[in-house]
């Protein structure tokens, strides 16, 4: 007598092969993605620095952007102009406009402090000091006016969120840190999504 074993109807083998094929495809894709994936590196900031993208409030980000553009304009002046002159020329954030009212009501002054350059301390440095009326909206700000032969990339802005912030004795990093001032840093690195980096 001949016996023929007839397998029950079902898709067990097909399912198994299908799952194996799917697993293989997924594993291959994971390998390819892992192979081509690149970590972005966020530059480590010093304790006295703040990242303009991550560490500032919305109002502070707007003010910081305005100060950087103001610095570009200040490069055209032989001497740092008075705040009133900057306001008259319509240069934010020195104008007392509706934007200033919504971003902390800063009171701007031009002051002279003991300064510092790459070559060491200098006698004086002109700064623009914006004293905030609403530290919870935006801290007080300090912009170093450009000295002779400075470049646009030399812009330096410090932030102090303490109520009743005090001015530093000088622009030496130790004096700034002691008075609670943080250097704001804008980084053109992580998150910039173009391939050619």
């Amino acid at each position: 007598m001949t016996t023929v074993v007839v397998e029950p109807a079902g898709a067990g083998h097909e399912t198994l092969w299908l799952l194996l094929a799917a697993g293989l495809i997924l594993a291959t894709a994971a390998l390819v993605v892992g192979w081509h994936g690149r970590d972005y590196h966020v530059a480590e900031l010093a304790p006295h620095q703040l990242d303009a993208r991550r560490d500032l409030t919305a109002a502070e980000q707007g003010l910081y952007a305005d100060l950087r553009v103001a610095y570009d304009e200040l490069l055209f002046y032989a001497e740092a102009p008075a705040v009133a002159e900057l306001a008259d020329s319509g240069l934010p954030p020195f104008i007392a406009d509706a934007s200033a009212a919504r971003r902390g009501h800063h009171r701007w002054q031009r002051l002279t402090l003991a300064g510092v350059t790459d070559d060491g301390p200098v006698a004086t440095a002109v700064v623009y000091y914006g004293e905030t009326a609403e530290p919870e909206v935006a801290g007080s700000l300090l912009l170093a006016a450009p000295a002779a032969d400075t470049e646009p990339s030399d812009v330096r802005v410090w932030l102090n969120r303490e109520a009743g912030a005090t001015l530093p004795a000088s622009l030496m990093p130790a004096d700034l840190a002691k008075s609670g001032w943080h250097l704001v840093v804008a980084q053109f690195d992580a998150g910039v999504t173009r391939e050619r980096q």
Binding site: R54, A58, V69, S99
Partner: protein, 315 residues
């Protein structure tokens, strides 16, 4: 790294006559060469920036033909061929014109000088779904819409003018003067808009945008974007996403929604109807004809619209 302008980069145009002209031009002062400058741009605002900086000293050449969507642009062969006719290209470079790298690499001028307009702009983190994709780090993806702001536009104009001055030093003074004059014009627009708010109390306005493009613009008014509706530009939310969005807008008690002039969509009407929030349309400045005054016209509309929204929603 700065690169000097060289006629050898224009391989696509070399003919017998072209060779003759090249030898003739090389014998002339560099100012003659500079007057033949062709500067490529990727987006409409950059056309306006560069046109206002260079004046008559250069021709501004859009890389995206009129009528194409920059968010989904796939360059054609003739678009890539045009690269070889350029002396430099000005790009957004932070996510709004990623196609340009492939275009340049595939062109006859792979070493074309590139001017990164945003190199000195303090960038904001992306909002909306692109930000969510970046995981926990809110700054991992940047918002590329720096061109929709007066302050960031001036910062870019200054950068472009400096870079162009290095490429064509004989016109450096004109480029700087033009850039400064243009910056003053743009600042005047902002000042006029803000002057309309002089009598308005500085209330905490809660704003949502359909597209995550207006953070830079609204920050100039001291306004922060509370929510972004669109999953990605031009991508409509699914019905369940739409319901979640409407619930979120109601929960956040949003006062104003800014939509886009160029993307009218029925789902935006649904949001307005269901949430009862006022809707205002802004220009993305990325469609239609290229012109030197396009940025000023569209930004004037945007500034007026934001001011209208603030005035009409402030008690």
């Amino acid at each position: 790294m700065k690169q000097t302008i060289s006629l050898t980069g224009r391989r696509g145009r070399r003919t017998g006559l072209g060779r003759w002209l090249m030898f003739a031009l090389l014998a002339l002062p560099s100012v003659v060469l500079a007057d033949g400058l062709r500067i490529g741009v990727t987006l409409h605002p950059y056309y306006s920036y560069v046109a206002n900086i260079v004046g008559d000293h250069a021709e501004v050449v859009p890389l995206i033909p009129v009528g194409f969507n920059p968010h989904a642009f796939e360059p054609r062969a003739e678009d890539i061929q045009r690269i070889a006719t350029l002396d430099a290209v000005v790009i957004n470079g932070i996510g709004h014109d990623d196609f340009v790298d492939r275009m340049i690499a595939a062109s006859d001028s792979p070493d074309l000088p590139i001017i990164e307009a945003n190199a000195r702009v303090p960038l904001l983190a992306a909002s909306g779904m692109s930000a969510l994709r970046s995981g926990e780090d809110s700054g991992a993806v940047v918002n590329p819409h720096t061109f929709l702001s007066i302050t960031a536009a001036i910062a870019q104009v200054n950068t472009i003018a400096r870079e162009l001055a290095e490429l064509a030093p004989e016109h450096a003074d004109d480029f700087r003067t033009n850039a400064r004059r243009y910056a003053r014009t743009l600042r005047g627009m902002r000042a006029r808009a803000l002057a309309r708010l002089a009598e308005s109390p500085a209330t905490d306005l809660r704003v949502a945008t359909i597209h995550g493009a207006y953070d830079y613009l609204l920050r100039e008014f001291g306004v922060e974007v509370t929510a972004v509706v669109e999953p990605a530009h031009g991508i409509e939310p699914s019905p369940s996403q739409l319901k979640t969005t409407i619930d979120t807008l109601n929960e956040l008690d949003v006062d104003v929604i800014f939509s886009e002039m160029d993307f009218p969509s029925t789902y935006v009407d649904t949001i307005r109807r269901e949430s009862g929030v006022r809707l205002y349309a802004l220009s993305h400045i990325s469609y239609g004809e290229y012109s030197a005054d396009r940025f000023e016209k569209d930004m004037a509309h945007n500034l007026d619209t934001v001011v209208d929204a603030i005035l009409e929603t402030t008690p």
